[in-house]
């Protein structure tokens, strides 16, 4: 679905340059910690979406496939954590890992037949998956409490120590988001990551090189599901409440906006996109009823002038610098 053209090639850069995005994330988080709970909440959502989009990037960016159904795994994570913690008194972290495992199994079961499809058919199938789980969260009121939602979900914590304030939770979310990006980066640079890149480039060529396409696609799908599930769980613990609306089509649209705006197929694109898409509407809040118009106009503007996303600009600047050096 996603052609090789969308896979940005980032310059390797020297070590201190590679650390710049990490520093930027820490600075943003630090700004949040010095601000009000309002700013912390906005940034908290941004880092939860960073995790979600980093997983989605694995499947859509690195592997070049389409998935409109990742919200289904976020719902499994969110409701799983809510039920295990609120009803059965589980430790939040334990519940997070348990629901990730459950989402992984669900991804294998769903992905095995679905990933035989390609292009638009795969997109439709994954979209259907998202809709099915959304309907289940509404209709299976005995389990999910339907539109009434699940409340009383404890904040993230470990061994009886709860992160009570939103600022403490923001620190945890930043650490987890950076960990998620680091794992994704490591996997991308591995043999496995190169196999995914070959699938994204050309499935026929990858097959000719001996890449087991079906297997690699499935593993990428499962990894994306694990990230989505973790994001869903973290959302539940961060807010303390979930309802079906959280995991609806809005989540899919928002995550796509983040991915494409930040730079699909790039390491830091999901993070950049998640922060900008979360913060921008707040910066435009003063526009009142024109807020949505202003917000979408800026998104369109960015996508026109940075079609490979904001993270792709680094490659562009790198090329310009190279040409200047050559000319010199």
């Amino acid at each position: 679905m996603t052609s090789h053209a969308t896979i940005s090639i980032e310059p390797a850069g020297i070590r201190w340059q590679a650390m710049l995005p990490v520093v930027a994330v820490v600075v943003v988080a630090g700004f949040g910690l010095l601000s009000s709970d309002y700013v912390v909440t906005v940034l908290g959502f941004a880092f939860i979406y960073t995790i979600f989009c980093t997983g989605l990037n694995f499947f859509m960016g690195y592997t070049g496939q389409a998935s409109f159904g990742q919200s289904a795994f976020a719902a499994i994570g969110g409701y799983g954590s809510a039920i295990l913690c609120a009803d059965y008194g589980w430790e939040p972290l334990l519940a997070l890992f348990a629901t990730m495992a459950l989402s992984g199994v669900a991804a294998v079961i769903v992905g095995f037949p679905t990933l035989r499809l390609r292009g638009h058919y795969l997109a439709m199938a994954t979209f259907a998956l998202g809709l099915i789980v959304y309907e289940v969260t509404i209709e299976w009121t005995g389990l999910t409490q339907g539109y009434m939602g699940y409340s009383g979900i404890p904040p993230l914590g470990i061994a009886g120590y709860e992160l009570v304030t939103v600022k403490q939770q923001l620190v945890a979310l930043v650490v987890l988001a950076l960990f998620g990006v680091a794992v994704a980066a490591r996997l991308r640079q591995s043999r496995f990551g190169r196999a995914l890149a070959s699938i994204a480039g050309s499935e026929s060529a990858a097959l000719a090189l001996g890449v087991d396409i079906a297997r690699y696609k499935l593993v990428a799908f499962v990894i994306a599901a694990l990230y989505a599930s973790a994001a869903g769980s973290l959302f539940a613990h961060f807010i303390g409440f979930i309802s079906p609306e959280v995991f609806g089509v809005t989540m899919v649209v928002q995550s796509f906006a983040m991915l494409y705006l930040g730079g699909i197929g790039t390491m830091w694109g999901p993070t950049i996109g998640a922060i900008i898409v979360s913060v921008l509407p707040e910066a435009l809040r003063g526009l009142k009823e024109m807020q949505d118009i202003g917000y979408t106009a800026i998104l369109i503007f960015i996508l026109i002038f940075a079609p490979r996303g904001l993270a792709g600009l680094s490659a562009l600047f790198g090329r310009v610098r190279g040409r200047v050096k050559e000319a010199a």
């Binding site: 009000s36 709970d37 309002y38 700013v39 909440t41 906005v42 959502f45 509404i138 209709e139 009121t141 339907g146 539109y147 009434m148 939602g149 409340s151 009383g152 807010i239 303390g240 409440f241 979930i242 309802s243 609306e245 959280v246 809005t250 707040e282 809040r285 009823e289 807020q291 949505d292």
Partner: protein, 379 residues
Amino acid sequence: MHKRRMLICATMAVFAFSGKVSAEEVFKIGSSVGLTGYAAVVDRAWRDGLAVAAEALNEKGGLLGKKIQVITEDNHSQPQDAVVGYRKMISSDEVMLFNSGCVSAGNFAAASFVMQAKLPMYLCSILPQRENEQVWAFSFLAPPKFEIESRYRYLKEKTGIRKIGLLYDPTPYALMMKGLGEELAKDFGLEIVAQETYKADDADMTVQIGRINAAGGGAVVKIGQGGSTVTAAKNIKQLGLDKMLLLSSNDDGSIFSQAGEVLGDRFLFVAPPVQLPKQLQPGPSKDAVDAFLKYWKPKYPDRDPANSARAWDSMMVLAKAVEIASSTEGKAIRDATEKVPAYTGAYATFNFSDKQHVGITENPFLIGKFANGELVIAE
């Protein structure tokens, strides 16, 4: 040059000082409303009702001399956006109370930290589910039981229909009403022969209505709001069910008019007094309706007043609570709201107490119909 600097400094000091004074004289009310998304119709009415009430109260000097300022934040009918909006209104705007719209999930999601901030929540929606959160929340929504009882009583007393079908959407309020509908049917000598569900954006309900008809249902008790009521009316007509009644939940008057034009006097609806003002008898209820319409009609002559009247009533209850508390501090207003004596408003009579945080305790609803181009009481 020196004089100019002095003048600038003096001007800045005056502005800074006057800013502080005006901040102290304002009573800020935060309102999280779904101005877009599924709750837009009700919540836009809620927002406008709050604004009209604030204007009326400010004309009388505000609350304890403080001018009321209503700060609204659009939650897009999404809980995540509601959380951000609530946080913003607490941290940045420093509101003293919330008076929010009907997006239940948004209000539920924010309830825990609003409670921690010790701010009362007046709500268009149902109360949050957790008891400790309910302590700070007051609902101005009529219990679902009343809407069901009004329709069942009408069927029992005015018609020969004894077999009915329930057609409901999966929203929290509708599900509560549907559960009560099952419980109460026998008390009115009614039998529920079919229960069918629909989604708010369904464009066709002929299958559900056909099933109710096939099961012998003579009336469809529709539970849920929005354009789906008009769809149901059209589907009954399309199916040629000439004797089937459609009894709708309370909704916007424009919906009633559209459905009434399709089904005529076979379309009936639940309405508070303010929606049928011409036929009200003199008394406290009519006085309250007139007091509200005096401000509402000049601004919005063509709009239905029902949900705005509820918002208006919530502000009048607030005014009484502040008067009792002699304070605009959150905890004092919360405590005083429980002590406000029964207040007859434009929408209903509100009876809050320490054990009763759902204000409407007496059934305010009438059964209306559409006749000669207007909404009237069904005889």
